[in-house]
């Protein structure tokens, strides 16, 4: 057997609770022992639309939290934005419905062996995987600062219990309805300097990740980001979810964001490669 998807299982997961929080749905699934396998940054892939669905592809969602036991056994929690027909179907489900889920998938955030000063940056529902990460980092003795941004207040997902592990939380919104008015990247330099940040972890829209990479490069700090490319399979068999990444050998390769990601080194990703293959890419 190979090491790809080594922990992934296809299960029937029962929806335990489904609550609207701002613009999102916080959804909790009972998944049994599979919850033990999930690490911050991993994602799940869910079949949508029911038995006679016209949607043939799964939908990917970052794991917000994994709870290993409780009255329902292991739980996986997701934060879902009702966006198109698949996510709307999902957020419309009533508790006790079961969904077909493949999890956990993809790479996870790397945890430093030594305590470091980390800044976690989340855009929109991109905050989801950061809370579990914050907890983990905190438990390893890291200082964790967090900044979350969105277009408007209702699109910032920052539940109380999630914030426990965070030393500071900064919010930004495009319309100023919560926190500082402006883009998330505008506050990064100050936060990096004030908190003497050594590593950035991020998750959010691709444009935001690209912008963060600019900043992290400028400060010469490591930037691990969870990317979000359209995925047809989520398990590495279709090659639709690729993006160009410079390897340690200096060669640019089209890597699959579902198995070589979603967590990648921001500095190695060639951003702005939409609709073109970067020059010098292997096989171009």
């Amino acid at each position: 057997m190979s090491s790809i998807n080594a922990k992934a299982q296809q299960i029937s997961a029962e929806l335990v609770s489904n609550k609207k929080v701002g613009s999102y749905h916080h959804m909790v699934f009972s998944v049994g022992d599979l919850a033990f396998q999930a690490k911050p940054g991993n994602f799940v892939a869910i079949a949508v639309g029911g038995p006679s669905s016209s949607m043939v592809l799964r939908r990917a969602f970052a794991i917000y939290r994994a709870t290993e036991s409780g009255p329902h056994g292991g739980l996986l929690e997701l934060v879902v934005a009702p966006h198109g027909q698949g996510s709307k179907w999902l957020t419309g489900l009533a508790p006790h419905t079961s969904v077909d889920m493949v999890a956990p998938l993809g790479t996870h955030f790397g945890i430093p062996t030594e305590p470091v000063r980390a800044l976690l940056v989340g855009g929109g529902y991109g905050s989801a995987p950061l809370f579990g990460l914050a907890e983990l980092l905190k438990n390893r003795g890291c200082r964790v600062d967090m900044v979350l941004g969105a277009s408007t207040a209702s699109k910032i997902y920052a539940p109380l219990e999630g914030k426990r592990s965070v030393s500071s939380l900064t919010l930004t919104t495009d319309d100023g309805s919560a926190g500082i008015q402006g883009q998330i990247t505008e506050v990064l330099p100050r936060l990096i300097e004030e908190n003497e940040i050594e590593i950035i972890y991020s998750c959010g829209p691709m444009g935001m990740l690209a912008a963060i990479t600019e900043v992290s490069k400028r400060y010469g700090i490591v930037h691990q980001c969870a990317v979000e490319e359209s995925m047809a399979c989520g398990i590495g068999v279709c090659m639709t979810c690729v993006l160009p990444v410079t390897g340690d050998d200096g060669v640019i390769r089209m890597l699959r964001s579902c198995i070589d990601g979603p967590v990648m080194d921001g500095e190695q990703v060639i951003w702005d490669s939409n609709r073109r293959i970067p020059e010098g890419t292997f096989g171009a």
Binding site: M1, A8, V56, R58, C238, M239, R275, I277
Partner: protein
């Protein structure tokens, strides 16, 4: 009653008629977590080319009603890497492998065919001629009888041994029977029907084609009626030409449709994206269905929908 599920695909003996579809099972490694690869009839590899290839720019896919478009552009590490890494690994798993090969020139097909000799675990070659011919204004090889023939002849002449050759055809032609006839004459032992249909989705937000390369290949249940028709037509005209049927198969019922239409074996492609265990589901459902309908072997069911109706 004993039931024989064994398949014979143009000479390749397989324990069952369920194959993966080229480009829809990665290198095999990605799926092996979900089922042992030797549980299905054979793995069909993604199409291997002479040199490494980056494939096309993203976006490469769009979901469509009961289907999807893709424009991967045959991304892959090239034949050398493939022979060194994937083939030995697949053989180790006890998997039976159909190697899919694709070229940009007739010479590419010849080169690739020579590399296919004596490979462990390889039971046949699927020749993907549904790709653009750089020597002929990018026209797809299998969309023209002459280039289709040339590509297959190049493989036949160079392959040596008795490895079965299956020519994979594009449905985007006026007369698929004539192309099938042509490749059979050129030395193909069978045909794989069908590759994707050329399609396009326009993103109504950006108001541009959704895929970076504008067009892509349509696959999934949406195209199943076109695929079943192609299999039925070719089996009707060339009843002795073995057919590997595919296009939108996601259940045993779907697979049964292709067998009844005349396929000797079937491939499952897009369904694997929605269900990593689709190949196993299809296999189990098909064998139950055949037994339920009173067949004592897969062989008896092949082409059964062509029988004279006597009521």
């Amino acid at each position: 009653m004993t039931f024989s599920f064994e398949a014979n695909l143009a000479g390749a003996q397989l324990p069952n008629p369920i194959l993966s579809a080229s480009g829809c099972a990665g290198s095999g490694k990605e799926l092996s977590q979900f089922f042992p690869l030797n549980e299905i009839g054979a793995i069909v590899t993604k199409s291997i080319m002479v040199k490494p290839r980056s494939g096309r720019a993203t976006p490469r896919m769009a979901e469509t009603p009961s289907g999807m478009l893709n424009s991967i552009g045959l991304q892959g590490p090239g034949v050398d890497y493939f022979l060194e890494n994937d083939i030995p690994w697949l053989a180790e798993q006890g998997a039976r492998t159909f190697v899919s090969i694709a070229g940009e020139t007739v010479e590419d097909y010849a080169v690739l065919a020579r590399r296919m000799r004596n490979l462990p675990g390889v039971v046949g070659i699927e020749v993907n001629i549904s790709c653009p011919n750089v020597e002929n204004r990018g026209m797809v090889f299998s969309c023209n009888p002459d280039t289709a023939r040339a590509a297959i002849e190049a493989v036949r002449r160079n392959i040596g041994g008795d490895l079965p050759i299956i020519a994979k055809l594009s449905p985007d032609v006026t007369d698929i029977v004539s192309i099938a006839r042509e490749v059979a004459h050129a030395g193909a032992d069978g045909v794989a029907l069908i590759n994707t249909l050329l399609g396009m989705v326009i993103d109504t937000n950006s108001m541009l084609p959704k895929l970076a390369q504008r067009t892509g290949g349509l696959s999934g249940p949406a195209i199943r009626p076109v695929a079943v028709r192609a299999v039925y037509q070719v089996h009707s005209a060339l009843p002795h030409l073995p057919i590997l049927g595919m296009g939108g198969i996601s259940t045993g019922r779907d697979a049964f449709e292709f067998i009844l239409a005349g396929a000797s074996a079937i491939s499952v492609g897009t369904a694997t994206f929605g269900n990593p265990q689709a190949l196993i589901t299809v296999r189990d459902e098909l064998s139950s269905l055949l037994i339920e309908r009173g067949f004592s072997s897969l062989q008896d069911a092949i082409g059964h929908a062509h029988r004279e109706i006597t009521e």
